[in-house]
């Protein structure tokens, strides 16, 4: 309307032209074909090609936060450090941040179009690169397996004591497979919706702990009773391996991000948010349970069962347990998705084709642990110290060095070997 009015006679003319055309359509005024003769014309129109999947910056942030929070609040991290465990977590977080800033993000910034597979192949060649990719598939798959198993065991522990483990794991794998089937774009939307809910539950929980005076800051005292050495010892390298160093997985996802310029900022900010969140959770666990926290299977749920507000709300732990496990589910699906993406790249098959073999392997793998305790022991004693740092620190550093050397060569005008 406005446009037509300001354009003077031309605009006015066009306005009436528009009117006439609309009228022509509506009434069939004027000459020519009026009543619509339809032949049985079957028109085959080409479908528009689907563009590459894209995730927005806010979705990326939601993914990172959910991935980082994931299963970490379920455990008391760095329990060796006693009351200073939260300081260990803080140190671990700073260490993880350095790793992220200096290595992982640098890799991405040098090769924003490429995912882990391309980076490895470029630096190590076809044969060694494929081998290394295969090893990464095992690593990501193993992480997924650990999360699947955690989820299943906790479910049996807290919610469904008489349901067979394999059945719960199967259902879990089916849901995760559905999410992976839909792809990263859909999954990032799921993350975006779940994040506020999960964060809200945590905050409500903290408020309840504060309100019911379960939280007692004295349990954190004395700070640094035995000096800084112990917190540092228990933080490195375990806390970098879990959960802070796990950001290496995002080397597979960053390339999907929209508006590239903000990716680094988004990543660091959401990393800081989730890191702070984990520190706060640790403080609350320590402050509410004190030394008991070390002996609890899932300290946070134990705390929830202590919360009693009014007379009506007595046992909320099943609900909270479900939401906590929501985080575990998300993390596991992230790894499943990552494994599938890498698998499909390595074997040059589509995502849908890679989905089922990977899912079957994860399912079989998660049934392989003899018990929850063996699983936890294996994870905390062996993997964190010896295995995971290879994938989170050593190989990324090598990749970065290779990239730096390559760019040096390129600058000197020679082609990289």
């Amino acid at each position: 309307m406005e446009a037509a009015a300001v354009e003077g006679p031309g605009g006015l003319f066009r306005m009436f032209g528009g009117l006439r055309r609309a009228g022509g359509k509506l009434n069939g005024r004027g000459r020519g074909m009026v009543c619509h003769v339809t032949g049985n014309s079957k028109v085959k129109l080409p479908l528009p090609r689907l563009p590459m999947e894209r995730i927005s910056q806010s979705q990326l942030a939601a993914m990172i936060v959910l991935f980082q929070i994931g299963s970490s609040p379920l455990f008391l991290l760095a329990s060796d450090a006693g009351a200073d465990a939260w300081i260990s977590v803080l140190i671990g977080m700073i260490g993880g941040l350095l790793l992220l800033l200096l290595v992982t993000l640098q890799l991405y910034r040098r090769m924003p179009e490429e995912d882990l597979f391309d980076m490895i192949e470029r630096s190590f060649g076809k044969v060694a690169g494929s081998l290394l990719t295969a090893v990464y598939i095992v690593y990501f798959g193993y992480k997924a397996v650990r999360n699947v198993r955690e989820f299943g065991d906790l479910m049996i522990l807290y919610l469904l004591p008489s349901t067979p483990l394999w059945f719960i794991l199967l259902i879990l794998m089916v849901i995760a497979a559905y999410a992976v089937f839909q792809g990263i774009e859909v999954f990032s939307r799921v993350a975006q919706i779940l994040l506020p809910m999960i964060v809200f539950v945590y905050i409500a929980l903290f408020v309840a702990l504060w309100g019911t005076e379960l939280f007692d800051a004295h349990r954190l005292m004395p700070v640094l009773d035995s000096g800084l050495k112990k917190p540092i010892e228990s933080a490195l390298p375990e806390l970098i391996s879990f959960p802070f160093g796990e950001m290496v997985l995002f080397l597979l996802f960053w390339k999907y991000a929209d508006r590239r310029g903000g990716t680094t900022r988004t990543t660091v900010l959401s990393y800081l948010f989730s890191g702070t969140f984990i520190v706060v959770t640790t403080i609350f666990i320590l402050g509410s349970l004190g030394p008991l926290a070390e002996f609890s299977v899932v300290p946070l749920i134990q705390i929830v069962s202590l919360v009693q507000t009014a007379d009506f709300i007595q046992r909320l732990d099943p609900v909270v347990a479900l939401l906590l496990f929501g985080g575990v589910f998300m993390k596991m699906t992230f790894y499943y998705l990552g494994t599938t993406l890498l698998f499909s790249r390595l074997f040059r098959i589509g995502r849908y084709a890679a989905l089922f073999p990977v899912g079957a392997l994860l399912f079989a793998g998660s049934m392989a642990f003899r018990s929850y305790m063996q699983h936890i022991w294996f994870g905390f004693e062996k993997n964190l110290k010896y295995h995971f740092p290879i994938f989170q620190i050593v190989i990324p550093v090598l990749l970065l060095l290779a990239a730096m050397i390559r760019s040096r060569f390129e600058k000197n005008g020679r082609t990289p070997s």
């Binding site: 309307m1 446009a3 037509a4 306005m15 009436f16 528009g18 009117l19 609309a22 022509g24 359509k25 509506l26 009434n27 069939g28 005024r29 004027g30 000459r31 020519g32 074909m33 009026v34 009543c35 619509h36 003769v37 339809t38 032949g39 049985n40 014309s41 079957k42 028109v43 129109l45 927005s56 806010s58 979705q59 479910m155 919610l159 469904l160 349901t163 719960i168 259902i171 879990l172 849901i175 559905y178 999410a179 839909q182 859909v186 999954f187 990032s188 939307r189 799921v190 975006q192 919706i193 779940l194 007379d311 009506f312 007595q314 046992r315 099943p318 609900v319 479900l322 496990f325 929501g326």
Partner: protein, 543 residues
Amino acid sequence: MKLWNVLFRRKRDQGSSQQRKAVKQDGRSGKAVSRDLEEGLSKDVDENLRTIVAELGGSDDLTIRKIDAAGTDSVVVAFIYIDNLVDSAMVNQMLLHPLMSEIGESRSGKSSEEWYRTVRDRVLAVGRVHEMRTPEEALACILEGQTIVFLQGSAAALAADTSGGDKRAVEEPGSQTVIRGPKESFTESIKTNLSLIRRRIKSPRLRVERKTLGKLTQTQIALVYLQGIAKASIVEEVRRRIDRIDTDSILESAYIEEFIQDAPITPFPTIENTERPDAAAAGILEGQIAIIVDGTPFALLAPVSFVRFFQSSEDFYQRYDIATFLRLIRYVAFFVSMLLPAMFIAITTFHQEMLPTPLLISLAAQREGVPFPAIVEALLMEITFEVLREAGVRMPKVIGPAISIVGALVLGQSAVQAGLISAAIVIVVSFTAIASFVIPAINMSIAARLIRFVMMILGGTLGLFGIMSGLMVLLIHLASLRSFGVPYLTPLAPFVWTNWKDTFVRMPHWVMKKRPPTIADGSNLVRQGDDQMPKPPGRKSKF
């Protein structure tokens, strides 16, 4: 359909002569009708009439009126139309009468060419008159309720739009009622419906694109949108999908909906339908495209997102505070209607520890002597209720009270007294049923109704874990849906702040400065000026 498009664009661009050529060139048009229909009309009136009568198989509702020249036997003018499709008074007054009075005077001494032009330009007192060159065109026009006038000696006929016949008056909507707001509803006539929309949006930018669908029904449909506010890409997409439809019949807009929706396998509607012209107008003003179908009062609106189904047009006619409150109630009701029975089953079967002890004891006492497990009990009651509801819709109105007595007394009270079911489940099922009627869009409440049964089975077998798994699958599914390219969960994910003003809350009209950028054209988003908040005199604007 493509034919029509081709025709249409040609007509716009180069005028009618080109267009007629297009008919000839497009070989497809001839498939439906016999070969000679495509050839031009004869100069002889009788021959033309014979062709058309033969094509219609001599149907008895075809009416032919021949007029002789004064004192001779030769037919000079003939009218042909279908009895009940035309407005007979109009045919008599506007066509028959002027022509008969003209015939004596003005015809004499003129060539047939001149006579034809006189009739076309001066005699026929009808707003829309067009030329017909082939029997095929004439046939199509007759079937649409036009009257064809054949003149002896000219190879073109004239079609006058006299369509009329019985139609329902504009009444109050039966499905989407409001307390405050317009009480008009669409009717079965596409003309009425288009006028109802045009009367609400008096902008020259309102575009109406007409198409005909259904090889046998030849149903008219119209795309209505605002040029420059609806996204051009989405308009094109709607057009493309509608042009793809190849079917013999379109009897209701649901036929089209099923052919063009994004996700064929989902319980959730990805196209909105409405009976209310004001709701359609509101949608068009936000950039949606309305599809109006002749023969049904339900118009389609696309694209649409999940949250839109929780808005009622009354939200915008009431104060925003109560509108927000009611909207939140609707979301709650949606989840209640989807999850309440399932939660009840899960908690009483698997997680009794969540209930306070007195409540647990009371529930246990009620269930004493009930022979079924909770899941069977709940499923029985739900199915009973679904049967009642279906009976309520289908039964003749006169026996309504009988059904309600049987339903309420026999199935409710007596079943509890007989110890077949517990009172708690009756309460749960009744509340669920009432909650499902709160959702303004019936197709969304149907989705909740179907999912409820799945959730009940999940809750009965796997407890809260089952319900949670179900919700997770639902969430992934919802996140994967799109409606004409717009993600179904906008503005939640992807997050769009502008839309949040009209999602869970309904902000005052003066706050909603922009149209939703997900649907409306990005270059033209501002819908009102800045600083529209009312500032009554005598009160300082800043305090």
